[in-house]
Subunit: 227 residues, 6 copies
Amino acid sequence: MYELGVVYRNIKRADKAAADGLAQYGSATVHEAMGRVGLLKPYMRPIYAGVQVSGTAVTVLLHPGDNWMLHVVAEQIQPGDIVVAACTSENTDGFFGDLLATSFQARGARALVIDAGCRDVRTLTEMGFPVWSKAVSAKGTVKATLGSVNIPVVCAGMLVTPGDVIVADDDGVVCVPAAIAHETLEAAAAREANEGEKRARLASGVLGLDMYKMREPLAKAGLRYID
Amino acid sequence: MYELGVVYRNIKRADKAAADGLAQYGSATVHEAMGRVGLLKPYMRPIYAGVQVSGTAVTVLLHPGDNWMLHVVAEQIQPGDIVVAACTSENTDGFFGDLLATSFQARGARALVIDAGCRDVRTLTEMGFPVWSKAVSAKGTVKATLGSVNIPVVCAGMLVTPGDVIVADDDGVVCVPAAIAHETLEAAAAREANEGEKRARLASGVLGLDMYKMREPLAKAGLRYID
Amino acid sequence: MYELGVVYRNIKRADKAAADGLAQYGSATVHEAMGRVGLLKPYMRPIYAGVQVSGTAVTVLLHPGDNWMLHVVAEQIQPGDIVVAACTSENTDGFFGDLLATSFQARGARALVIDAGCRDVRTLTEMGFPVWSKAVSAKGTVKATLGSVNIPVVCAGMLVTPGDVIVADDDGVVCVPAAIAHETLEAAAAREANEGEKRARLASGVLGLDMYKMREPLAKAGLRYID
Amino acid sequence: MYELGVVYRNIKRADKAAADGLAQYGSATVHEAMGRVGLLKPYMRPIYAGVQVSGTAVTVLLHPGDNWMLHVVAEQIQPGDIVVAACTSENTDGFFGDLLATSFQARGARALVIDAGCRDVRTLTEMGFPVWSKAVSAKGTVKATLGSVNIPVVCAGMLVTPGDVIVADDDGVVCVPAAIAHETLEAAAAREANEGEKRARLASGVLGLDMYKMREPLAKAGLRYID
Amino acid sequence: MYELGVVYRNIKRADKAAADGLAQYGSATVHEAMGRVGLLKPYMRPIYAGVQVSGTAVTVLLHPGDNWMLHVVAEQIQPGDIVVAACTSENTDGFFGDLLATSFQARGARALVIDAGCRDVRTLTEMGFPVWSKAVSAKGTVKATLGSVNIPVVCAGMLVTPGDVIVADDDGVVCVPAAIAHETLEAAAAREANEGEKRARLASGVLGLDMYKMREPLAKAGLRYID
Amino acid sequence: MYELGVVYRNIKRADKAAADGLAQYGSATVHEAMGRVGLLKPYMRPIYAGVQVSGTAVTVLLHPGDNWMLHVVAEQIQPGDIVVAACTSENTDGFFGDLLATSFQARGARALVIDAGCRDVRTLTEMGFPVWSKAVSAKGTVKATLGSVNIPVVCAGMLVTPGDVIVADDDGVVCVPAAIAHETLEAAAAREANEGEKRARLASGVLGLDMYKMREPLAKAGLRYID
């Protein structure tokens, strides 16, 4: 349930080293490092491909067809933040375009994650301001109803608390709670540590069946080979 | 983000009078009484029509295609509870059927709200055990992976904390945080207080335009009548 | 493209005998009688089964999450009308409930067809006020933005002009332009004239293949039987 | 890949005792008895609730918006059959209505399972002819293009071979290959044998955790209880 | 409701200067300039990114799985036109490919907007013939049933009258009625006039809150800041 | 219905010349050459554009959220194969990423077609390993339940038998049964033989109406031109 009409100005952002460092591992590795949780629904897609980013969440709750609070959240952005926008009911209107992106970028925001639509995607691409959204739509919005800024929100099925770390790339968007950002960074690093070696072995023709010693558990589970 | 593999045995349930009393007002009125927030997504539908119920939430987090934790949550049910089940990714399998319903009913559960599928709907209807779900499906599930019980979960887009009040009927499902259950009950009662009088006036032919004094604000907004 | 902020008070309703008479044939027959056009998209479903109704359209254009204009349209209803509500973008909020239904019913409306959500469905069912909608949702709406009344609208993919005849039942909703309401009534009657005889022959075991003389065209099209 | 323009007149139907006997167990139990396979996608829903039926499949392949082959398949129906209709691309038109149902019923068909739309649902309900479909739609169809009858088809994601057993109820539709119909009947019977006792124990308050001896494997998997 | 089997040869196209000039403003600005109406549903997506185009609509009504009328409409194309194709029921088949595109391009068409599927997207991209569609699908179509050309059609939820101006880009597709094309061009130009200055101010760090003087209305609406 | 827990090691692959040769014609032409059948549902999309490929199918059946069998199928891959993965219920998790792709590529696989999700799409793009999938998702999977390898599977609505030819490009994915691969290659070649000439004529301004001699059948069907 949401508290409406409030802006929290002081939020505790996750450790900066962790918030910055998680970008290099990408959403899939980070999601695994947390035990396969934290992922926003896969309908959240980047407006252009090839970006891999992380940062601290500032959150905003919107009403359908109303982008007033995006102007309010702009003031709360600090360099290194990613804005996470939720909506009180399903809506695909274009809440966000190039003017807001200019403002967000000027404040130091790295990206927007919005559980609704955005527009001006060609200009956003040229500006290099990445957005993960549910839809692209030219449909404009009004400025009439109060939502809130920096309250915990549910965005694309995931609870995001202000200050959490957001990791986003072509595979999707993950939310890492601030309290476990550092340990998640270490777990992600550990996961990747021997990926290069694994990749080399697989590339040389070694099978995962052998590399991961799966033949015995498969046989135990009853797998039969038929010639 | 979810904590996995834990069962919280002691949760603070909302005030019982409020938890029981909200049923009479139904999801639409309760949702209005909270300021139009708290509603689960409208894809959550009852398996049979005509039930209006409320109770305190015990929560369970499931993995796709795995209903093991529904047996674990059964033990945590107290009379007057409603089980709220979330899933770590989208899934429509039939996690819940007549045997689990028998067990839940024996423990005193009033209903199940599940962001996934259920089955045995004919028997559930005969038993009078109401379920709100995303799908009906005969697809069975396995019992292999740990989720959690009584952690905060996101169910159909809404954050549900154990002990919150759930109100469900043919219009949908609303979650009322325990902390505001009592004031929401009062607000709902106040909303309904003069509904009978309003209904009588509208039934007699009085227009909402006049009863709610809308003509002036409509004119101010620029509405033009053309003959 | 829509004209906003206007209410047309004088619309030309279709011939009353045709508008009333089409109900008896139902949406499937009427749709066939018009040459298989005029049907709203099949996502429009009745909130309860078993109603078959027709009437003249009064139209209303709504904004997402805003039901203000439903109060404005109420005044334009005449006995025998069916209200047809379109929305400027996709929305499933519950724009319509028991109080508005009381008012619509008092004005003589026979039904509501709304390309969005409605609520209070249990009460609407008890009142016997039928609604065809895209969704059921407890989500309330605000009263802030002007739409229009009695302009041509696109509802569930179909153009509806004020005064057209709407035919709705468990199979869906059809729009019959006022100008062809009478000839459509006659065509529908003609289609049904020998349905009883056809049904009796089919019930006796005669095959459609023979009754409709399909064997020759099927053979000509190249159908082969293999024993 | 489909062979077009052919009608196979001689198909090998599954053992009649098995085909008839499976109805009593319902789709969920039969699906479990086969090892959790065989289920059509859950978007296949009955047009009215409360029917539980089984029978042997006669199959038909349709083109979008064209129901010609439903007349062809009618001749191939034998008492105890269920017609299974697939479509070469996604389509929700109303391919099937009361006249075809009269013919199918006269031939002894028990039901229709169609991966598309049907119409005249009120009359079908009155006639007691059950249909599981993807949609209800008044949209009519033409009779112009050849499909096939009694070839293997993919219906709602499942391969159905003519003569297989279809089991359908409120939970969905299952296809049982003719070759394993008898053993599936026995497996289903075995599953149900001690359901009554299980239900009684659960109703008396015994927990599934104890009845199924889950406490040890849950502990071994690492489940922690927190007071 | 649609008139079937007709081709209107003489349509009144919108003023050429307006039809050509609107391209430079793009769908979002034009949609705003009309008062936030006129937008086709956001499921209409370009087959390749980066095109911004406008032109006068020639319309065509298709039946599902049948592209016969696309050959008929080709003859009615004049240089500067955009073909707008609607379908009598939902269908994602590939109605349009490289041969038709070659013909449309030879006639001077600038684009196709189709509420269904298209194919040969790689070749269309190489040819530089832009298409906005609901789907991409290799599924071919037949040539069997008459639709119509240059009648008003509903395409992706919007009424398009022959001769209207279509504006399409990466954000979506807008329809501007011919009668207001000129004033919409002026309104769009006015909207853009001071965008450069606004962008410069936002880029310098000025907040929208101050630039648009939102602080007072936000406070009046009750927004509270919490430290 | 699926046989579970088996791996067929010896499958009969389609004629290599046909399997290799079909790539050049693409999915749309091959689908037409087979009589407009064989196409997987259009929700199957490539993770990057511009690839046109064909090869022989090795198949794998997966359970939702479980990618164990993808390691098993890797061993069965021969150079020139395309892996076709089906799932027992709907699931969008990311079953496949860069490590499996490295292994598949080392074994000589040309592509993956998966009726579920994949991840690491940026790396897959860099590696040049094409995937057609229903979704992109960072959601990881477990390795717990047996499916099967090289049994006939239904993938995106189409039956694929091991050894069939798969043709995939930006328009979609087609399955050509091994038995008709050669004749389909010839039919596709014949279809393309005079495409160049047709394209040249259309580019010169000749209308399809004349080139395909459609004017007479259109007139016979009743098409009327109105000036």
